[in-house]
Structure formats: structure tokens, C-alpha cells
């Protein structure tokens, strides 16, 4: 398929750090965070005017699911819009608590693991052609997903005593490519919280099931870097295209994907061998080089309608070169693990310390704080040490405006129903005004940004709405 719908669901870590007394559990902190959302939507699970979904997930993680995006750049905008919405909510939560005598900082971390080793995810959704045979898809996609962390991992500091690092005979503290790799165990299954797979096999296309399948990838790291996220979705898109187009790909099926994932994450050389199902062994760099070469050849032959693709392919290659040479200076403003590592290396050199120092672990975590004033990724971005792909004004717009897909219908519908004061129930496919069956719609085509029937309902609702403008978002 040339065209595709992309979406990302991000679970954020939450922690309220009081200045004095007044510790809050993550559940309590999340409840305060969601007060304005509940006041706005009468629920802690709402669809917004930009088509996205904001909710409290398993384990009280604040979660943001982007709207359906048909372009890679829209995906970056929508993903960052989710950060900004939660940043605003966290500031409101701090104000609310301060007024009640509990001053402190409401930290939201866009990372994938806490200090006790609990992991939370960044789940990617890719709409696939139903013709792509699932077993073949898993067979060819898994070796790519296992090794792509060399390029799109968010990087993680491990204090001394990390079992996986010790198993790799790394002593003392260490740094791995991926946050998530230590917590994923098998190739594909329906499990989500125990024995996590790389690919969740739950088949809910949220679209015409005879035409489409939705691929749910849960092995990825949350990205702070806009360009790293762009590469993550762009590289995966082109590999999926090759699988859908039945391109002859090298058979690189791994003997044990979970073990390979961890071994690759903790091996900064990219050269450590992992075992293939047929008994051969191969290093992560070579695995990625195979996919990169096939992708290049495919794009040269078939072309790509995506304007971002030349940059994605170039960044993919430069990052593999950086791992191979051990010199990350060519990518250290564009790739999360390298942006962060440059900062950490500087701190280690200055403090004459190493990765086992709690101060270094603090810098690692603070890199993922989504607050633009105190999050270290944003500090680095202000200093020109993290490249921007989109303008801040585009991100702000994306907090209120849906991308040109089915999300635009949903956003318009939600906005009109709210303005008209009508109770409504919305999900990815259905738009419903309770008690008005005539205003209910099913939208099976996720690419369709227009639908005359939905637009007519929106007009009717707006015509009956009082002229006071509705609030687009949880009040900020």
C-alpha cells in the first residue's frame, strides 16, 4: 500500500514531587491531573476536537492516542500535541494543589520505565492491506523491529547491578539503546502486560475489516526527538510496504526475538551476533543494513509519495554508520539515544564519574520530562542540540485541529455536539448523539476526511448551538 494510516498511543509516567510534605500516589496524582478533563467531558476517557483520545489507562498512566494520520509529519505534530496538552494539564494540577497548600512539581515522563522496573509503552498503529498474510508479516517484520532500536531507541542508563547488563558481562553502570527492550519477551501474541510481545495480534482494524488490518507494534521506545519519531514511523512504513508488495526479502527469522532484543540493546558496538532460526548468526548492524538496502532498492524502483522519505532514508543510513564507527557526531541532534548520550558523556567527563552515578540516572529521567521549562530534551532543543522537524506553532495548531483524515470528521462532530450541548458518544469508527439516532454515523474509511452525511449533522448541531464558543479542549 502506498498510503497508510499511522497512529501512536503514548503512556506517560506520572510523579508528583512535593516541595514539603504531601506525597501523592501515582493514582492520586493522575486523578488531580484529569480533573479538568472530567469537568470538560464528564469522563476520564475523551475524544478531543483534534480527533485524538485522552484517557487514563491500565496502572493509572495518563495516555494520549493520536488521531489517524496519513502523513509522517502529521504524526509528529499530533504526537507532540499530546505532550503539550498534558503539559498544560500538569501545570493546572500544580496550581490546583498549590492553592490547597501542597506545592510541588507534577512530572510527566515520556519514557518507558520507572525506577522499580515497571514498563509502560509507546504503541504504534499501522493500517495494513488485508492481503498481507499475517504469518509472513510477522516473519519478516520481527527481525526489523528487533534491530531498529539502533536507530530509533531512546537510550537508557542502567545502574550497577542491572541483570541484563550483567548477563552481557557489562559491569558497573551502562547505557543501552532501548528503554523498552528489557521488557519484551516474544514475537507476537495477544498479551499486553505480562510476557509482552513485539507485535500485539489483537485484530481491531477500526475500519473495513475486509480491506484492512491494523498492526499494533508495542516494542518501541517513546521518542522525545521529532526526527527520531519520524524515522521510526518512516522506516517501518517502507518495510511494511515491501512485505505488502511481496518483495523478496532475506530470511532473517530470529531464533529467540526476546533475547536478541535485549542483547542488541546492551551492545553499543552493534556487532554482537544473535542467532537466526536456521542456525546462522548475524549482528544487529548487518540486520539493519539488509533492511536498509532492500528498502533503498524498493524505493528506487517504486518511488514514494512521501516527501519525508529522502530524509528518513538518509538518517537511517547515517545512524548505522554512527554505530559502526562509534562516532555519533553525525546524528547527535537527530537521534534520541545519541542526543541524550552526548549530554551524559559531558556530565560524566565533568564529574569524573560513570553511568552508575545517581546523578547520571537523574539526567536520563529528566530528559523525558515533557515540561518545556524543566525537561532536559527541551533545554537541549533550545540550545540547538536537538533538531526540530515541525514548528511550535504547528504543534499548537495540532492540539486543536485534526489531521485531514477521518479524524477531521470526528473532531468536527465532537465540537458541534459540545457547542449544541448534546450528549454524545464517540469512538474511532462511530459518532453518535445519544437520543438522536438521526445524528449517528459509522465511518469505516479512515482516509476519508469528508462525508456529506456527517457534515450535514455537524451543520444541524451548530445551527442549534448558542453563539457562545465552546471550549475546544479541557480548559487551559
Amino acid at each position: 500500500m502506498q498510503r497508510r494510516i499511522f497512529g501512536i498511543e503514548t503512556e506517560f509516567g506520572i510523579r508528583f514531587a512535593p516541595r514539603g510534605l504531601g506525597q501523592l500516589s501515582p493514582e492520586e496524582a493522575a486523578r488531580v491531573l484529569f480533573r479538568p478533563v472530567v469537568a470538560w467531558g464528564r469522563s476520564s476517557n475523551v475524544f478531543l476536537n483534534n480527533g485524538a483520545r485522552l484517557y487514563l489507562d491500565v496502572g493509572s498512566h495518563p495516555e494520549y492516542a493520536t488521531a489517524e494520520c496519513a502523513s509522517l509529519t502529521d504524526l509528529v505534530r499530533q504526537d507532540k500535541a499530546g505532550e503539550r496538552l498534558f503539559e498544560d494539564l500538569a501545570e493546572q494540577a500544580e496550581d490546583h494543589l498549590a492553592l490547597r497548600g501542597t506545592e510541588g512539581r507534577m512530572h510527566l515522563f515520556k519514557n518507558n520505565v520507572d525506577s522499580a522496573g515497571h514498563s509502560f509503552g509507546s504503541h504504534e498503529n499501522y493500517l495494513l492491506s488485508r492481503r498481507a498474510e499475517f504469518s509472513r508479516l510477522v516473519r519478516f517484520l520481527v527481525p526489523f523491529l528487533v534491530s531498529r532500536q539502533l536507530v530509533v531507541g531512546a537510550g537508557r542508563v542502567h545502574p550497577a547491578g542491572c541483570p541484563t547488563a550483567e548477563a552481557m558481562t557489562l559491569e558497573g553502570g551502562s547505557y543501552s539503546f532501548s528503554q523498552r527492550a528489557d521488557y519484551v519477551w516474544e514475537a507476537a501474541s495477544a498479551a499486553t502486560t505480562r510476557s509482552r510481545p513485539l507485535i500485539n495480534t489483537r485484530d481491531e482494524p477500526h475500519a473495513d475489516a475486509s480491506q484492512y488490518r491494523r498492526l499494533h507494534v508495542i516494542v518501541g521506545d517513546s521518542n522525545m526527538s521529532e526526527t527520531t519519531l519520524l524515522a521510526r514511523a518512516g522506516m517501518t512504513d517502507v518495510v511494511l510496504r515491501m512485505i505488502e508488495d511481496r518483495v523478496r526479502l532475506p530470511d532473517l527469522e530470529l531464533k529467540n526475538p526476546g533475547m536478541a532484543l535485549r542483547a542488541i540493546s546492551h551492545d553499543s558496538s552493534g556487532r554482537g551476533a544473535v542467532e537466526l532460526a536456521d542456525g546462522r548468526s548475524i549482528g544487529a548492524l548487518d540486520l539493519q543494513r539488509e533492511f536498509l538496502a532492500s528498502a533503498r532498492a524498493h524505493l528506487e524502483k517504486e518511488g514514494s509519495p512521501r516527501p519525508e522519505m529522502p530524509y528518513v532514508m538518509d538518517l537511517w543510513e547515517r545512524t548505522l554508520d554512527a554505530v559502526e564507527s562509534g562516532d555519533a557526531s553525525g546524528i547527535d541532534t537527530e537521534i534520541d539515544w545519541a542526543i541524550k548520550k552526548k549530554l551524559l558523556d559531558g556530565a560524566i567527563a565533568r564529574g569524573r564519574t560513570d553511568f552508575s552515578d545517581p546523578k547520571i540516572a537523574q539526567l536520563d529521567l529528566a530528559y523525558h520530562d515533557i515540561n518545556q521549562h524543566r525537561g532536559l530534551f527541551y533545554l537541549l532543543q533550545r540550545k540547538g542540540r536537538a533538531r526540530q522537524w515541525v514548528q511550535e506553532s504547528e504543534i499548537r495548531t495540532a492540539t486543536e485541529q485534526a489531521p485531514p483524515t477521518r479524524a477531521a470528521l470526528r473532531g468536527g462532530f465532537v465540537d458541534a455536539a459540545r457547542r449544541a450541548g448534546l450528549d454524545h458518544t464517540v469512538d474511532w469508527v462511530h459518532l453518535k448523539v445519544n437520543q438522536h439516532p438521526g445524528l449517528s454515523h459509522t465511518c469505516q474509511d479512515p482516509f476519508a476526511a469528508q462525508d456529506p452525511a456527517v457534515e450535514e449533522s455537524i451543520r444541524q448541531m451548530l445551527a442549534s448551538a448558542p453563539s457562545v464558543p465552546g471550549s475546544a479542549m479541557p480548559p487551559v
Binding site: P26, V58, S115, P159, G346, R350, D357, Q362, A366, L379
Partner: protein, 66 residues
């Protein structure tokens, strides 16, 4: 996973680290350009991160997600 030692082990570890550094201090060259380039940023970070490093990291405990 118990990735963080208790504080007595931690301070023991810190002492060991200091000793190691005294021993290797001369031998290990420090990349001066990296130090100066990053110095300003690290100073700024020190003023941003109010909390003690160990508390900052250790205080972040969630239930598992998906």
C-alpha cells in the same frame, strides 16, 4: 527488579568510586572540548533540577502499563 541499592551500599559504592577515580585520575584523559561545551548546559541543569538525584529517580515508581 532491584536496581537501586540501599543507601549504605550506595555510599559505600560512592566511596569506592572516589578511590577508583583518585587512582585513575591521572591516567584517564578528559575530553576538554566536550567538558567546556557542556559546562554551561550542565550549570543550567543544576539550577533546574531542584531535587536530590537519588530521590528524583527513586521517587518515580508506577504501576506497570501495557
Amino acid at each position: 527488579m532491584a536496581q537501586f541499592r540501599d543507601s549504605s551500599q550506595e555510599s559505600e559504592r560512592a566511596r569506592e568510586r572516589e578511590q577508583e577515580q583518585e587512582l585513575v585520575g591521572e591516567a584517564r584523559p578528559v575530553d576538554q572540548s566536550l567538558v567546556s561545551e557542556t559546562d554551561d548546559i550542565l550549570d543550567e541543569i543544576d539550577s533546574i533540577l531542584e531535587e536530590n538525584a537519588e530521590e528524583y529517580v527513586r521517587g518515580f515508581v508506577q504501576k506497570g502499563g501495557q
